[in-house]
Symmetry: C2
Subunit: 741 residues, 2 copies
């Protein structure tokens, strides 16, 4: 502790005695910026977050709800009062809500699922029954199906390989999958690909319930009747309104017929609690599930099929509902046509205190403080756009439609998009475009952690070292740089980054909140106050972190992007995909030997009747040279930019504008108009959500997924396409370098 | 499959066309030996094993039971009928049985534990209530204690570190530990060292119950009321009768007073079922248990202490009971004073079909077949001693007392001891003295696996490759050598190997049986027949494997020992202890940095109040050079023996006898009369059960445990002592080499 406090003091001393360097700022402007930042810090007040939270979480506020609209109007009102130019922007989107939900087990031990989360006297908003959306998966198909049940573990492709090895088919069956291991929408998609006619998804108590800790209301974790709602739209194909891909769903938009919308799930899907899942799991016959499939219920998990049939009946109101995005603008004084955009969604599945409001209230406080600063004479040089998205939960509806609606303008003007989506006690987490990594690290070394008093960077470093295994510790000790994670999908940055190529970040604190409230009626004001961020100390820390990111990006003389970080990160991804191919090749060679020597057959227990994993074929050598060449060129250009970067501050204003315009549009060259295979909407060639993982990112997606799915031609084409993007990027970077030389 | 059958055919062809080489045999004698082995194979008949099993498992047959004595007499009768000189050798040992067993939870939700395994109509012997020993831990202390309960996970030293970090003491408390993670006797021993006044041990269903598979009688696994009986005597100090350490417990033996016996547990200990454990676990308050501590019951596991008190009352009959060891002898024709000894225990905790009878019936069949062969003219050159031990379960009583009683004679005469202790479907498993590794591998390449038709060596190799992770597979592919595991404790080889230094092996098939019957009334004929080895195909395979080991050791011209295997294995152990010290040193250095930078404090959740793992101090550099020098000398002597080995077959008979006498006594030089620190009985310097693991072996125990327990002087002294043993061994080996030169 002593040493760290001491070095923090040294920084303070250097503040006062020398001009402090700030990435992207001239020395003179750096001083002004730092002054305003300290004003910003001093104005952030945690109790305000509680005030916003109380109102916003007071009633259920899903898409189309009374409170959802009231929340949007409340925020517009606040922002206008604070000095912003705020308004609601409305879209019309498909948003199904349940009409019929019936799940029953027939046969000798009939059982009808409760499908109901009970109200708790300890938590008043859980009793707002008339306004709550019942538990369901949005964009499930309508359906009335009756069949035997099969347990499919997480319901990802590898699980179906295990079923195949045991000769168990889900064709014509209803599957029961555990939440976790993939984004939920993957489970019914893969089930339908294998011929299942219905899908149930339950929260196993080992992952999300008493296995984690005491259940609500005694503790924070999911109680026996708790259910995780959520969308199962096929978002890895495209997010947003299923009826208006690639165009904003305004009143006049040309809409697909519902039958043409490829992202609506093909089979009925219903999420259930572990109490409702128990009798279903007990009904299963057939082999005992593999050890890694078993959960925390007090039974032996079998795969099935069940002897008794399960009846699942679902029907939805397929209504078009209004979306209320809140868009607040503070015009830039010098570069009004360069936009720095901040967003968090405001819709929740029910009362949504943690998800999304804990991030929303931090963003609101940033807006209030910036408004207050404006009253004191502050003016951002670039335009600040503060947004509160509606309809993120059903599938990034509000952000996607807004981005699609304004794509042409955003393409020209958007400098960066900074997202948050929930926040709790703990450690700063950051994902995003790697050009922003040094810039972001600089900021984290200035924000204090509320619990320990050291910077959030130092605390995150401490956690990283303590979490590392012994051998990684040796390697990482002393290196406190926060490596940004890559962005997949899962929140509103997706259309900005993956559709338009706008440099983006997603920020939030986490790791010390507790909860099994996710997407349930128990994600409430009461629960949040007890278990997530009592006193909003970390909400305030998020305001200070994200607020600083916004203020610096809007005021920087030169947009503080770093290309060596980006180049070395993409280089790492290239190494990963090469290693992946090499390992798959070595594995295939070994599998062939094993097959030739019948080692599986000799080792197997003949009474178990589990066949070998089928041989998947040889792995060819791919030609990675175009990628290697493109990366070498990028690396040397990035080094060159670094070398000449210092000269940027001396550029005459017009050239500086020209340079900035090149810099913030650079990420656009990583997009390709063809998009990714089978999903044209995803244009970014470096980052995408996995086609079979959902939220989980796949970097260099076309190459990586081509290899993983053994589509060798696609992988080779991917190498060409990624290389082309990188070459285009390098050429643009060269324009920047030429300006500096 | 094709390839393997083809190569097996090649072997058959070479059998008939050339003289087959057999390790330790002259070419002429090899042919005779192989002829007798094929007679042996042809006479082994699986149905006989069922006949023995039916009788032996018909009623409970623990120490002092009516059936225990009847079983001994039955076996003596059979063996004498088969042509052996068999008799019962009796000892008198302390064997406590329960008089009072009471366990109750007091307070608001009182509960009295059932402590009773219900009889099942599907399994007739489970109803033999009047003859069953109730569930208990033998050599628990008497006691009547009432206190709060604390959950201590597996109850090993590392678990108490976790309790310390949370400020939870077990002083004056009753602890509840899960079975597993250590030998059961370690749990009360460590609990008592930490001041606990009572100990409960339960079988968690995640490890041993419905988490593994369907419970008995539907499936093989432990039902809710099933209890694992077992000894908690402090066997890592010395096994056998607690009143007669190091001397045979015959009628006239000088006995300690019970109060002087250091191996009797100091606190009352009781094993319980998971049904009985559930209300106790539910009574616990305090912090939620760490994730790795949690089990398969449908609750949140807390550490405690409980609010309500637990009352545990135990009293035992501390009786002296007779032991009935069965000793059958077939005198050697050429070397009657060289004994090759075979054993399995015959006592069970209840009906003990799997443990121990499945191994016992295989041994009996070997005896029958050898007897039959004797009638056809076969005569072993060395004396065969076939034993059935009583009292293994309470703590290797029968074998230890017999070894202690006959130690002087065994020291002179024992060539090797071959143990088994249970058997089931699956793969050959072998632990033992590494001088026997090539000899044993030769045998496994001649015994057929009943399920696949390949040799048991090939099947084991297939399993090893299939179980390996991808990177180990690359390394291991093509190397089918079966590496013997080191012997710890846990069965009757312990006194032979660790007290006297007699080369030993432990053999058995396993890996495909299923069960949660261990040490319960459900370890029955019925259960065995359904789940362990239906038809006794693997019982017969064990007879063929162990029988061949016995026949070859008794007839070999030169005892087939290999010293390069031994030398390279001990070399590996030396590398392990060096790496252990190096890693502990690197860890300590890192821990010191973490402490200096307060990284734990910065990373910790301040609301959790878990203190850092205390710094354990620096790790000095030890002087391994004496060990390195001793091992280098051994290696070169082992190579020299290998070089001259071929000449052994030409030695004149007197010299051959002299050489064999050196060879089979070589392992004695690895023992040291001082024994190990704090446990003089354990004299072997290469293999010992862990002081804090129980069954689990610690190789180079004095060095390894010295390092692990940070007793640096002891570790350094250990290096000297092990080096001395290895030098003595090398000197003896040099005598053998001199005879050959």
């Amino acid at each position: 502790m002593r040493r760290i406090i001491f070095s923090a003091m040294l920084i303070c001393i250097s503040f006062s005695s020398h001009a402090q360097k700030v990435l992207g700022f001239t020395d003179g402007n750096a001083a002004t910026q730092l002054k305003w930042e300290s004003v910003f810090d001093s104005l952030v007040a945690a109790p305000n977050l509680d005030t916003y939270m109380k109102f916003l979480s007071s009633r259920p506020h899903h898409v189309g709800s009374v409170q959802g609209k009231a929340n949007a109007e409340y925020m517009v009102g606040l922002m206008n009062k604070w000095g912003w130019d705020a308004r609601i922007e409305e879209f019309q989107v498909l948003f199904p809500t349940p009409k019929t939900r019936l799940l029953e087990l027939q046969g000798a031990k009939p059982f009808r699922a409760k499908l109901e989360e009970p109200a708790l006297k300890e938590d008043p908003t859980t009793g707002q029954k008339s306004e709550q959306l019942p538990s369901y998966n949005a964009f499930s198909a309508d359906g009335d199906v009756t069949s035997e049940l099969v347990f499919v573990n997480r319901g990802v492709p590898a699980d179906y390989e295990e079923l195949d090895r045991r000769g168990i088919s889900v064709k014509g069956k209803i599957v029961l999958a555990k939440y976790g291991g993939s984004w939920r929408g993957i489970k019914p998609k893969v089930a339908a690909e294998h011929g299942a006619i219905g899908c149930l998804i339950y929260s196993d108590p080992a992952d999300d319930g008493y296995g984690e800790g005491d259940v609500y209301p005694k503790g924070a974790f999911r109680p026996g009747d708790g259910v995780q709602r959520g969308s199962v739209m096929d978002m890895p194909v495209y997010p947003g309104d299923p009826l208006t891909p690639m165009v904003g769903a305004d009143k006049n938009a040309k809409r697909l017929d519902r039958s043409e919308a490829t992202t609506i799930m093909k089979i009925p899907v219903l999420p259930i609690s572990y109490n409702d899942a128990l009798p279903l799991l007990q009904s299963l016959e057939g082999p005992v599930a593999p050890a890694s499939w078993r959960g925390g219920l007090p039974i032996t998990y079998h795969i099935g099929p069940s002897l008794s049939k399960v009846h699942l009946q679902l029907a939805f109101n397929w209504d078009i509902k209004p979306l209320y995005d809140v868009i607040g603008v503070m015009k830039g004084s010098e570069y009004p046509d360069e936009w720095v955009i901040r967003g968090n969604h405001h819709d929740g599945w029910v009362n949504g205190a943690s998800d999304p409001l804990s991030g929303m209230v931090a963003e609101l406080e940033e807006a209030r403080v910036i408004g207050e600063m404006a009253k004191q004479g502050f003016r951002p040089k670039r335009t600040l756009v503060y947004c509160a998205w509606d309809g993120e939960e059903p599938s990034l509806l509000g952000s996607t439609e807004w981005v699609e609606e304004h794509q042409e303008e955003l393409n020209r003007k958007a400098v960066a998009y900074i997202n948050s989506d929930g926040n709790e006690r703990g450690f700063i987490g950051a994902e995003g475009s790697h050009t922003l990594e040094p810039f972001f690290n600089e900021i984290t070394s200035l924000v204090k952690d509320p619990q320990t008093g050291v910077t959030i960077k130092e605390r995150r470093y401490a956690r990283t070292i303590m979490d590392a295994d012994r051998s990684s510790r040796q390697k990482m000790y002393g290196n406190s740089n926060i490596k940004l994670s890559a962005l997949g999908a899962g929140s509103d940055y997706s259309p900005f980054l993956q559709y338009l190529g706008i440099s983006s970040m997603n920020l939030g604190f986490g790791g010390e909140g507790e909860g099994g409230d996710y997407h349930s009626i128990y994600d409430s004001y009461e629960h949040f106050k007890r278990f997530k961020d009592p006193g909003y100390a970390y909400g305030a820390a998020l305001s200070k972190t994200a607020g600083r990111v916004m203020l610096r990006l809007s005021n920087a003389d030169i947009i503080p992007m770093d290309f060596t970080s980006f180049s070395s990160t993409v280089n790492d991804y290239a190494s990963e995909v090469k290693t992946l191919a090499d390992q798959m090749r070595a594995d295939a060679e070994m599998d062939r030997k094993i097959m030739k020597d019948n080692l599986y057959g000799l080792a197997a227990d003949p009474t178990k009747k589990i066949s070998a994993i089928p041989y998947k074929g040889d792995v060819p050598f791919l030609d990675f040279s175009p990628l290697d060449n493109a990366l070498a060129a990028l690396r040397s250009k990035a080094d060159e930019y670094k070398l000449y970067q210092g000269k940027a501050m001396q550029l005459e204003p017009a050239k500086r504008i020209q340079l900035n315009s090149i810099l913030y549009k650079l990420e656009r060259s990583l997009t390709s108009p063809e998009g990714l295979p089978r999903r044209k909407w995803y244009r970014h060639q470096i980052y995408a959500p996995g086609f079979y993982t959902g939220y989980g990112v796949k970097t260099l997606p076309m190459i990586r997924e081509g290899i993983e799915e053994r589509k060798w031609v696609e992988a080779q084409t991917g190498i060409a396409r990624v290389s082309e993007s990188i070459r285009a990027y390098t050429a643009k970077l060269d324009e920047a370098v030429s300006l500096l030389k």
